[in-house]
């Protein structure tokens, strides 16, 4: 798990929420908003009981679920309904943030850069934020909805080259990988193509679902959409990890479908210079 190691190295203390359960993400809210809220609220209630101030999640879908539950709990009527479903009462006195937000706001770009042992020089990276990390702004309360820049700033500070990437928030097809694969292929193809067009060596993501869609399916995209794509898709935490001095294996770069070896090689050469 790259996130945990990186967080620790940045001085963020992560405690696993005991016995966490899946928040239900997209499927739950198409069934019922109350059920959706309750599944997320269960985790938050446990975290509250553990005395934690913030729940951090690497997954924007979970984040949305948490934020929705937190929104619901502000309303007295809805809070009552929620708690009728839960074993452990949920107070709503906790906040929820993405790991990216914690790194950007609490650690700070400069502090991250200062800890970098191996700057990301020579890498040309296209940051891809996905559709729900910063939108809608009212709920996300983080970064800019149209032109988010937090990953850009972190990567730049770590020495990478970050070109203007117009599709930062275009949708990759989200949860449709199984039920509507062709949609994911079409949408992900556009994003990958644009990244290649601007000469990126890799896409940088902050969401496991985006990562899956964009990384795993490149073979399918190439054969179905008739566009040849071959672009590693890395988590922002993995890149921060590399800069902090972790080995590619330590940050889990061996687990990707599209090998980042070319990128790594380019980087190592640049570092040697």
């Amino acid at each position: 798990m790259s996130s945990r190691k990186v967080a620790e190295a940045l001085g963020i203390e992560l405690v696993e929420v005991e016995d966490w359960s899946c928040c239900g993400s997209t499927p739950a809210h198409t069934v019922d908003h109350l059920l959706y809220g309750a599944l997320a609220a269960r985790n938050l209630a446990i975290a509250e009981k553990m005395g934690l101030a913030t729940v951090v999640t690497p997954c924007p879908s979970c984040l949305v679920a948490f934020k929705s539950a937190l929104e619901m709990v502000q309303d007295d009527g809805k809070r009552k309904e929620l708690n009728e479903l839960l074993d452990l009462p949920f107070q709503g006195e906790i906040q929820s943030k993405s790991l990216l937000q914690i790194i950007y706001e609490e650690v700070g770009v400069e502090a991250v850069a200062q800890r970098a042992k191996r700057p990301l020089e020579g890498m040309r990276l296209a940051p891809y934020y996905g559709c729900i990390l910063t939108r809608p702004p009212k709920r996300a309360q983080f970064d800019d909805p149209e032109n988010p820049i937090t990953m850009d700033r972190i990567l730049e500070a770590l020495g990478a080259e970050v070109p203007e990437f117009p599709f930062k928030t275009e949708c990759c097809g989200a949860a449709f990988g199984l039920p509507k694969r062709e949609l994911v292929l079409t949408l992900s193809a556009k994003i990958l193509e644009m990244a290649q067009e601007i000469g990126a060596d890799a896409l940088v993501v902050a969401c496991p679902l985006c990562q899956q869609n964009l990384d795993l399916r490149q073979g399918q995209i190439t054969s179905r959409e008739g566009v040849s794509v071959d672009l590693p898709v890395l988590y922002i935490t993995q890149l921060v990890g590399l800069a902090l001095g972790f080995s590619p294996r330590e940050v889990g770069l061996d687990k990707h479908a599209v090998s980042p070896n070319r990128l790594l090689k380019k980087w190592e050469e640049k570092l040697k210079e």
């Binding site: 800019d144 909805p145 149209e146 032109n147 203007e164 117009p166 599709f167």
Partner: protein, 660 residues
């Protein structure tokens, strides 16, 4: 006292949800009421005559009309009873329309409320006394703030009518936005060609004193007698000497100063004359860019100026002017396009605003009228216009329509096709708004004669693709997503209030709406008046409007001032504070509180000191009345007794209600 009550139906406006007849019947039971009736339209001529008649027949000495808001017809009815021989202040209105019939659907509750409102009004009138206005001299000079086309028109009309005018303009030249435009719709005549002569007239008019590069510092006084302090900002050039020869501009080494007139599409020099037709044509140094100021050395302009006009030591100067009326014509601002993140505005050089495009189109603009793409200076072959960029947008807190952009888009689209015959022009729009004479025909011409593609749908996103931009929108008529690759995108950014409009309003004590546009006294019937007497509005400061409308309002405001000044003396409102000297203990708390310094110390023959209200200065706010420890100073028509009478009448009604 003998009070008559007249309850209005206002057609069905009141009687629809209030039983006006029953209100009149109940009113007959109130103390002092000797006559009560209801009438279909009380403000109509027969309605007013009925009041006049009743005053005579029933020997009334006080009148209550229960009808619309007093803000609507108080003056109408005051005049009515005056014609019947009563003192016009022996009158009160009960607002049973705006505050009652229009806001509740329950007829019983409304009727009941109306009865209580009438009862309160009756109780107040019973405490009224005769009031008589006094008269004061008027200073027949007028201040016009803002020298756009509206302010210029107002100034010229006033000056031609014989008034002395002080015209204050923030920028170094008069002309306003219109001076930036290329051509004007719907006739497509050259903007500066029609504005230029007017600017010269203003500049040369012996009755107009021009204060450009100036702002209002503060204003005190009241209608007929205002004192205005004007800050004349330092230009660092002695305008008495400068001839506008432009030599300094040629030699100034600081060539990257922001060019306001060209909306930043070109740079200018630190010392500059904002545009060739500027009036007055004088140079100004922008200290933000001048090396003498930023680096402490240069002095080139001082060396080259043949007239020795440069003065780096110059400081702002405050000049006081005495005037009797004020016309505000400060125009509008434009939305900062960076608020439109989805269009990449501010990030992508080839996404520009409509006013920037005017400068590209303009033959005296930085490109001599050649339209080019800012990123590489090449001629665009495709131009996309996006209407309502930030207007009609509740998500940006700007739900209103900016009024003139539909029309100028059509104009710019036509001009684009004129300038670049092989160009393709697209307009994304939601509706086209073209309600004035010749306007709709103009938009049709853009489509029919000039082949401009109008696409009904909003644009969601713009992103760069190679050297071009991709505009992704919808065609809602077809129900489909559309995309077009283009060289240039022009945003019709929303018209906003002028910068610092609110601050100026507070100095003038006029109201503004939630967007910062100034509030007229009545949206239909008093469109250029404000609620502060002596202050008038003209042009886009009241709300976005085009040139014909702005000019019309300029003339209208001028005629209001001319008619105000047609009398040598003005009537003062007698609804002001009065000190009962017997009760006054001379603490002068009232004088400390009065925001208008309307209270002075007065020594009585017996040596006692009391407060004294200066009649013409008092504005009738009543602050003094609520601060006075001995109840000695009373605001006429709103005395303690009158307010208490209202409260008591209401509470009496409540008590009767609960005891059944």
């Amino acid at each position: 006292m003998r009070i008559g009550v007249f309850v209005c139906h206002c057609g069905t406006n009141i009687d629809g949800t209030v039983d006006s007849h029953q209100v009149a019947e109940e009113a007959k039971k109130f103390p002092h009421v000797v006559y009560a009736t209801d009438y279909l339209y009380t403000c109509s001529e027969p309605g007013q005559q009925e009041i006049q008649q009743a005053v005579g027949e029933h020997d009334l000495d006080g009148v209550v009309v229960a009808a619309c808001s007093p803000r609507m017809h108080e003056n109408t009815f005051r005049r009515t009873i005056e014609r019947a021989g009563l003192n016009r202040y022996m009158f009160e209105m009960a607002n049973i329309r705006e505050h009652c019939s229009w806001i509740g659907e329950d007829r019983e509750a409304n009727t009941h409320k109306a009865i209580e409102l009438v009862r309160m009004a009756v109780a107040k009138v019973a405490n009224h006394v005769h009031l008589h206005p006094s008269y004061f001299e008027v200073n027949k000079r007028v201040l016009v703030i803002g020298a756009g086309v509206a302010g210029m028109q107002a100034a010229l009309d006033c000056a031609d009518g014989g008034l002395d005018v002080v015209l204050v303009e923030k920028k170094s030249s008069i002309g306003g936005r219109m001076a930036q435009l290329d051509k004007t719709f719907p006739t497509v005549d050259c903007s500066i060609c029609i504005l230029g002569p007017k600017m010269v007239d203003v500049g040369q008019h012996e009755k107009i004193k021009l204060c450009t590069y100036s702002e209002i510092e503060d204003i005190s006084g009241y209608v007929g007698n205002y004192t205005v302090n004007i800050r004349r900002k330092a230009t660092y050039v002695d305008w008495g000497k400068c001839t506008g020869c432009g030599l300094c501009m040629e030699k100034c080494p600081s060539k990257k100063a922001y060019d306001y007139h060209n909306e930043g599409i070109a740079d200018t020099t630190a010392i500059n004359i904002s545009f060739p037709q500027a009036i007055p044509k004088k140079a100004t140094i922008d200290p933000e860019y001048c090396r003498q100021f930023t680096k402490g050395k240069c002095g080139v302009c001082a060396k080259v100026c043949p007239l020795g006009a440069i003065d780096y030591e110059m400081e702002d100067e405050i000049v006081a002017e005495e005037v009797g009326a004020i016309i505000v014509a400060t125009g509008y601002g434009l939305l900062n396009m960076e608020e439109l993140g989805e269009y990449g505005a501010g990030r992508y050089p080839d996404v520009i605003t409509g006013i920037q495009y005017e400068r590209f189109l303009n033959a005296s603009g930085p490109t001599q009228g050649h339209v080019v793409r800012p990123s590489d200076g090449e001629e665009p072959k495709r131009v996309v216009f996006i209407s309502c960029a930030g207007s009609r947008d509740a998500s940006l807190d700007r739900p209103y329509c900016s009024n003139f952009c539909c029309m100028y888009i059509a104009k710019q689209a036509i001009l684009t096709r004129d300038h670049i015959p092989d160009s393709e022009v697209y307009v994304f729009y939601m509706d086209t708004r073209s309600p004035s004479k010749g306007y709709e025909e103009f938009i049709r011409r853009a489509q029919e004669e000039y082949g401009v593609q109008y696409v009904r749908g909003r644009v969601s996103r713009i992103y760069p693709k190679g050297k071009r931009m991709v505009v992704r929108g919808a065609d809602t008529l077809l129900g489909t997503q559309v995309e077009v690759e283009t060289d240039l995108v022009v945003l019709a950014t929303a018209a906003t209030c002028a910068p610092e409009a609110e601050e100026l309003a507070e100095k003038l004590r006029i109201s503004y709406d939630e967007y910062g546009f100034y509030m007229e006294s009545h949206p239909k019937l008093r469109p250029v008046e404000t609620n502060t007497s002596g202050v008038f509005l003209a042009g886009a400061c009241q709300g976005p409007k085009d040139i014909p409308a702005a000019v019309g309002q300029g003339s209208a405001a001028a005629s209001k001032v001319l008619s105000l000044f047609s009398k040598d003396q003005l009537e003062s409102d007698p609804q002001i504070a009065q000190v009962m000297e017997l009760r006054c203990v001379g603490c002068l708390k009232c004088a400390d509180t009065c925001p208008f310094q309307a209270i002075e110390e007065k020594e009585l023959p017996d040596g006692r000191v009391v407060g004294h209200v200066i009649e013409t200065v008092c504005q009738g706010c009543g602050l003094c009345t609520s601060i006075c420890p001995s109840g000695a100073i009373q605001l006429q028509q709103c005395t303690d007794n009158q307010l208490i009478a209202e409260v008591e009448a209401l509470c009496q009604a409540w008590r009767e209600r609960s005891s059944g």
